[in-house]
């Protein structure tokens, strides 16, 4: 009667296999909302059959658990994450720079007219007010109130220049410090990847691709790393990921080789190095932070420095044409946006509107005319166009930089969503699918249990009833 017992044996492997498949479904359902998780699939495999005197006997079945993971899609997700976070970092910094500039348009209704008009604020208003104060002084050179206004507006102008410059330098400092802390995070992630490589290699020895949860974790770590710096990843035969990035000439630089971090990252003076090699970053948040800080924000500061310098030079030239010592309006050394200041000798009592007689307004008129002078860098000036038009260009440049990045972020986010969805389509968990699987596993389990019942009844009949005829 070896037949009945062998049925019990194969029914037992079936129960084992079904419960393992149920456990896979349960694990999948548990991770339905885990974005790092790759769907696991239970695939059945027969254990083969043997030939017995009673005929071929099946050895039962077993279950293999595999991950639905596509290396190509993983790589694409990494790349897109890197691009998105680089652009988002730029967007963030340019947004701060735009706020630091303090230029915005508000709707204001003036008391003199009921029509609402728009007005800008910030440095542009301070520049206008300053030159208009001189214009008013020229119209009324002996008015002590007007003199006070000029001194006051000059103070407002220099304060606003300094404030904007300080705000912008803080934005740059914040960008650099973020880049520094991102480098620290990247180093932690590299260590984590190396550690996970070690664990995966140990767990998978002789059974490649079996360390499923560890692989999910490693992929998660790699994507976080890709958001910081651009990486390329290659899996070796032992299941360990080789992580590398590129240097300034585009050559590959190894970051993680097997179980060791070969070249830890370091940050100094606006540049990132791996070991001793300077890196040429093309995406990732570190690149975004550094490029926005040293690019658009720095050029904004340079333009403001030039503007401040031109105002100081031209106003002093008009106010103190004979370059008398101590007779300047602005401090002659303060030729940057951060250093512009009114000459310490200048007060309401020393301010002059003209030369000679009290009613002479030649100096005030000359200073007021600086506002309308068209400068040219070709002619040796520091700016092009009038002060107002140059500043308009400066504001529009930073706005343009932010607007471009905003559009890029929107586009890039759409691309990233598509790629992530593509991967989710392959690796994601569908509750409907798991429920239908669960149902079929359950029915199979129930059927296999029924087999036990049948065999049990047969055996009971055999043992208790055989040979008891008439008994």
């Amino acid at each position: 009667m070896s037949g009945l017992f062998s049925i019990l044996g194969s029914a037992a492997t079936a129960l084992d296999a079904q419960s393992q498949a149920i456990s896979v479904a349960s694990n999948n359902i548990a991770n339905v909302n885990n974005p790092e998780y790759s769907k696991e699939v239970a695939s059945y495999k027969t254990l083969g059959s043997i030939y017995t005197p009673q005929g071929p006997q099946s050895m039962g079945i077993t279950v293999n658990v595999e991950q639905e993971r596509s290396a190509v899609l993983d790589q694409m997700v990494q790349q897109e994450a890197s691009l998105t976070s680089g652009l988002t970092a730029q967007q963030n910094i340019l947004q701060q720079a735009q706020s630091a500039l303090g230029e915005n348009i508000t709707n204001s209704s003036t008391s003199s007219s009921s029509v609402s008009s728009v007005s800008t604020s910030g440095l542009s208003a301070a520049i206008d007010d300053f030159f208009n104060a001189f214009q008013a002084l020229a119209a009324n050179p002996t008015d002590s109130g007007q003199v006070q206004t000029v001194v006051q507006q000059a103070g407002v102008l220099t304060d606003r220049f300094q404030e904007v410059d300080q705000n912008l330098s803080q934005v740059q400092a914040a960008a650099e410090s973020e880049a520094g802390s991102d480098v620290d995070s990247a180093n932690q992630l590299l260590k984590q990847v190396a550690q996970l490589n070690k664990q995966i290699a140990a767990q998978e020895s002789g059974n490649p691709g079996s360390a499923l949860a560890l692989r999910d974790q490693r992929q998660g770590a790699l994507e976080k790393l890709a958001a910081l710096i651009p990486i390329s990843v290659k899996e070796d035969s032992t299941g360990m990921d080789q992580v590398s990035t590129t240097d300034t000439s585009g050559n590959s630089v190894a970051l993680v080789s097997g179980v060791t971090v070969t070249n830890p990252l370091s940050y100094a003076a606006g540049a990132v190095s791996a070991g001793s090699t300077a890196l040429g970053l093309s995406s990732g948040s570190i690149q975004g932070e550094l490029s926005a800080g040293s690019g658009a924000v720095q050029s904004l500061r340079t333009s403001l420095d030039n503007l401040a310098n031109q105002i100081v030079t031209s106003v002093n030239g008009a106010y103190n044409p004979s370059a008398t010592a101590g007779g300047n309006f602005f401090l002659a050394d303060g030729t940057t946006a951060g250093a512009i200041s009114v000459d310490p000798n200048l007060t309401a009592s020393t301010l002059v509107a003209g030369t000679g007689s009290a009613g002479d307004n030649s100096i005030a008129t000359a200073v007021a005319k600086v506002a309308d002078k068209a400068f040219s860098t070709v002619g040796g000036d520091l700016i092009d166009g009038t002060i107002g038009s140059f500043y308009g260009t400066v504001v529009s440049d930073i706005g343009q930089a932010l607007d471009t990045v905003n559009t890029q972020v929107t586009d890039q986010t759409a691309v990233q969503t598509t790629v992530v969805n593509q991967r989710q389509s392959v690796s994601g968990v569908s509750v409907d699918e798991e429920m239908s699987n669960l149902m079929s596993y359950q029915r199979a389990f129930q059927a296999s249990s029924e087999v036990f019942q049948v065999v049990d009844t047969l055996l009971a009949n055999l043992v208790n009833s055989l040979g008891t005829v008439g008994g």
């Binding site: 735009q98 508000t106 009324n140 309308d372 989710q424 149902m439």
Partner: protein, 300 residues
Amino acid sequence: MRITNNMVTNSILGELQQLETQQSSLQTEVSSGLAVTQPSDNPSAFGQVVQLEGQSNETAQFNKNASQALDLANASYSGLDSLQQIYDRASQLGALGNGTMGNASSATYADELDQLIQQAVQVANTKLNSTYIYAGTAVDKPPFTTTTNSSGQIGSVAYVGNLQQASIALSPTSGVSASTSGATNQGIADFINNMISLRSALSAGDTTAISTASASIASSDDLITSAVAENGAIQTRIQADQTQQQAYATELNSLISGDTNADLSQTIVKLNQAQVAYQASLQTAASVMHLSLLNYINLQ
């Protein structure tokens, strides 16, 4: 394509986020009436607005300058007008003095003329906002100084102001000198000195001297008359300039509004569309996320 749970939530959240952003920016546009509030909203329009706003502020200042110049021109005119009236009476007195016989009546005319001389000096030293208006640019001290003769009357008048004129800017390229010229101011002093001569002639009853002095007064008045005409021309020019500036300011404002103002009807339509899309998105999300196989199977 195989659709999984994370994909559904990802795309629903993405859609909702996008629609909310759109709604929020449209809502801001409608409530503020401005399509551009930050440089990044429309960089070129913002740059344009900064420049136009600067020009608009400058124009407002030029307008104030023009009012200031007009005040000064008005004050100059009223002084010159008073001098004209003084001249009218002085020339009458000269004519009367020439026709009368007897020192007593001509001495009476001389007394009246003395009052007129004092009045003329007072007018010539008129102040506007604590500055002397017939002084060139030496506006901080009385431009006409007098000496007193032995009989306690004004013996002579000297112009101690200067010959310069302050120009008030009315536009980036043009300006106006609203005060009287140095020659006019000098002419006022001559006019008063001629009246003093007439007074002396009347006191002395010297008809030849009266005739000479009367002729001199008439010729120095010509200068004042031409100054009045010049003043009228200046006022006309300032007023024309103000009108032009107001038109320019209106044009600048409409340019600024064109760059920044939201097209309300269009924005409101867009906002409604975004709201409808948002509602639809919420509704479908609610029904899609609610449904799964779990609602229908009963595992036992």
